[in-house]
Subunit: 329 residues, 2 copies
């Protein structure tokens, strides 16, 4: 039997608190409908468009909630984070708003637009080699030298609670529509978004099925859910989902996800490309590959949604123009 969520590392009260912190700063994204998508998949689909959030992804929520929790006396040392791009922008922009210094450790192959946007928010960007260097060690070193606070991308209850406001808004809007979601889908890299979303949605709709979406081969959450313990994926190649390349679920996120999620689904790079193109042509939303993986799984028929009410989180829209041009053509 599932224990009450108060026994988990993040409660819905924590998410309520994050929502109060975020209210004056974050965009409250709407819940969108697309008759074209409904017809295509034979379900009633609700889209949570987090590309409309500040910085172009949900990551601003967790970052801002975390940074806001740093005591004023500790803010002088600034913050440091490692990220392939969306968490980078979230932390950089949150720091900018809160007048804190931010240093971001990014892989040298991160999309150009993500690097440039991170700098535009006033952060210092330190590049590293994804294959040969340890980003956590680099970030910890900077944190030690500068007295900076390390802002983890997902394995932090305050970050998870911030991302959970996505789920809280979904639950609020579905309740206002008088419709119970049968299925809620969100992508995962380390699992912070889906953990927060699951916590908030389950608090209001305990019968909802929570599904985590991952790129094919990068299915560490799916593997871990099946195994009942954290397992790394075995991918060696790159995926176009640059935002979703974490090797293994977080400890805190998996403690939540292993209890609240029902299953994992995957989508191939080709299916993700199709979803990005579908979002361009039919939804008129700019979604990045990693943000589209749930939609990709739905369009590819990997989710049994026929006749159901399904919510799909499109988690971000930060994609380089040249890659985007290729994907929509």
């Amino acid at each position: 039997m599932m224990q009450p969520s108060s026994a988990l590392p993040v409660s819905s009260a924590d998410i309520d608190a994050a929502a109060r912190v975020l209210a004056p700063f974050a965009v409250r994204t709407p819940l969108l409908s697309s008759p074209a998508l409904d017809e295509r998949v034979g379900a009633k689909v609700f889209i949570k468009p987090e590309m409309l959030q500040r910085t172009g992804s949900f990551k601003f929520r967790g970052a801002f909630n975390k940074l806001s929790s740093i005591p004023h006396a500790a803010r002088g040392g600034g913050v440091v984070a490692f990220s392939s791009g969306n968490h980078a922008q979230g932390v950089a922009h949150a720091a900018q708003i809160l007048n804190m210094r931010a240093t971001i450790v990014m892989p040298s192959d991160a999309p150009r637009s993500k690097r440039e946007r991170t700098k535009a928010f006033g952060a210092e960007v330190v590049l590293y080699d994804r294959d040969r260097e340890d980003r956590e060690a680099i970030a910890r070193d900077i944190a030690d030298k500068r007295g900076a606070t390390l802002v983890r991308p997902y394995d932090d209850p305050l970050v998870i609670a911030g991302q959970g406001t996505v789920g809280r808004e979904i639950a609020e809007d579905m309740a206002a529509l008088g419709i119970a979601p049968d299925i809620v889908v969100a992508p995962a890299s380390g699992g912070g978004l889906i953990a927060g979303v699951a916590t908030a949605v389950k608090a209001r709709f305990p019968l909802a099925t929570l599904i985590v979406a991952e790129p094919e081969g990068y299915d560490d959450h799916a593997l871990s859910l099946r195994a009942g313990k954290r397992e790394a994926h075995r991918a060696a190649d790159r995926t176009i989902c640059d935002a979703l390349m974490a090797a293994i679920p977080g400890e805190i996120t998996f403690a939540i996800n292993s209890r609240l999620l029902t299953q994992g689904v995957t989508a191939s790079d080709t299916e993700v490309g199709t979803a990005v193109g579908f979002a361009f042509r039919e939804l008129k939303l700019v979604v990045e590959p990693g943000g589209a993986v749930g939609l990709a799984a739905l369009l590819a028929g990997h989710i049994d949604a026929r006749g159901k009410n399904i919510v799909i989180v499109l988690s971000g829209g930060n994609v380089d123009a040249d890659l985007y041009a290729r994907l929509i053509n």
Copy 2:
């Protein structure tokens, strides 16, 4: 002194009636905020994203309202319309929903995606040469032969009332936020959208300034507003705003617009391209050139919005992938 709007060809009660007709079928588009845009222009900007509407533009609203008004006895002959693309899709999709036959007369140089999408909604597409043939004559001929109802793109009170639901939703959402719009901007080709929007917004916010946005050279509304009578623009070249190429304001639309609008602004093709790219990078919305002309005028500094509450209607998002790729790169 301005006469009450009840003396005009379309009243806010007509728009209320259209809203009731549309409610089960049209998407109620949200009003979006973008802190990045606010900061860029020094104003509080509200975006009405009509690319999220069925068919990818506001045109579905007017078309559906008009088609719904056709008596059942007259529906057998179907409908016929002439359009460069967005009205085409609106009429085709409305006819599809209402089980009517639709024939659309489109210029042979209309964007491929607009032609294909029109056909995908089940309409028969008849192409004509924009420079050598009279689309109205072709459409009237088809209407006569088949007993079809001609659905004008803008100069019809029922079409204008349908488009007015865009303004009604803007007014409703701004009222819910407790914010009075200082300025509301919408693009115009024949002027149906801005006429409907102005009618609905002025009914709730009489002090709002209504501005019509047009492509440079295609400024027939601006010219007509200044002259106090309908005047054609003098453009000879093409504009990338394929949706906004009408030569002269409609008679009915100008009867409304001449009374309710304050001024016209224009944007060059370059400024429009910049706005399409800005919407890609910062708003994460796919907007077509004609749909972006108001945003373009705002970003280019042609609208004095500093410190104000301004609503910008992004009227559509039907753009060919190859042109879009060029504009965002």
